[in-house]
Amino acid sequence: MSPSADQVALVDAPESAGRTTATLVGSLTARLAALHLISGADAIGSLVAGYAALGREVSQTAEGARMKRALESGRPGRNGDLLWSRLRLADWASMMPPSPVLDQLRNDAALLLADDVETTLELLPIPGEIAGSPADLDERWTFADFLLGFWACSAEVVRVLEALAAPTLAEPGEIVASAPADPEADGELLR
């Protein structure tokens, strides 16, 4: 059924597995399994490339463009560019396949809200136990610990970036005048 004129529909991406609890669990377990097959540098590099790809996409939006201009024009942007090029972070990140970070975040959040996670997990093979005694560990982190820490860290990232951009951040609602379109461009040749 097609959405009406005042609606937009969220649908599965074509030529890929649809978003179901089973495919989302499969995606998460595949990511965890892949960590054992690649180096730490590759895993982190792929995440860095993923954030960069997302940043480039968001820079097309009004709010993203405003933040980008502010970050680029201040000292944080200049120092960041220096570090990014001199430490060869640009070469490293550009050679990595960008991780679809927002897709992964959305999928993992959807898993937390699904009502059939338990039955789906029963269908999966039981993962092997990690060698070593858990009693040796001083702390045993819970999922709630992780989630709360992730929230606190993400909120801090937002605050830090907004503080870095603040001195050079343009007022919202900026208007940029440019030359009007050339009427000759609509000539017969381009029709």
């Binding site: 005042d6 969220l10 649809g18 990511r31 690649i38 050679m95 679809p100 959305r106 959807a110 609602g173």
Partner: protein, 187 residues
């Protein structure tokens, strides 16, 4: 054929140029090979099932308002997937036919909306029309952050503020006041 390699001939001689080109070629070849291998590695990355945005037939977010006012745009998002989806709307810069680009301020800052499977949620955006915005029709698109495909066209018609518009006949007293001001501005 003789190829000069004297330091004084040209910019360091042909051999130096040849060597430089060869070194650049080798460096580029190594770089492209590594890139290709990384892309190959990317093809083997775990898949992340994704979401695309499908607008309705002829869907367009449109609004109209005078300079200095606020325009409200509303849209309904239907989740046709089998699991929850979080959407974060983001507006592109809007451009009018004369080439003016407007980076609209969305008020309040649009947050994320959680849409359960087979349900719909409204997305409402309020745009403040700045006082110095020239009248015209500004066009752009609404995107959902991080979605792989799809956007909704946006059109905002901006009118001149009431004082600058042609006065209505019933408001004679209000229309007489601006006239002398105009005359004083002219040399």
């Amino acid at each position: 054929m003789q190829i000069p390699n004297d330091p004084g001939s040209g910019a360091g001689g042909s051999f130096r140029d040849l060597l430089r080109l060869q070194t650049e070629f080798q460096a580029r070849l190594a770089e492209e090979t590594v890139k290709y291998l990384r892309r190959l590695q990317g093809a083997g990355m775990p898949a992340a099932p994704g979401t695309v945005l499908r607008p309705g037939e002829g869907a367009e977010l449109s609004g109209k308002g005078a300079v200095g006012s606020t325009v409200h745009l509303e849209l309904e998002v239907v989740n046709r997937q089998r699991v929850h989806c979080i959407v974060t709307p983001m507006l592109e810069a809007l451009v009018d036919a004369s080439g003016v680009t407007w980076f609209p301020e969305v008020d309040p800052a649009v947050g994320s909306t959680l849409v359960p499977p087979n349900e719909s949620r409204p997305l409402a955006l309020s745009l403040k029309l700045p006082g110095e915005l020239p009248p015209g029709t500004y066009r752009g698109a609404l995107l959902l952050q991080g979605f792989r495909d799809g956007a909704v066209p946006v059109a905002v018609e901006v009118e001149a503020p009431a004082a600058r518009r042609r006065p209505a006949r019933t408001r004679k007293s209000a229309t007489r006041k601006p006239a002398p001001r105009r005359r004083t501005r002219k040399p």
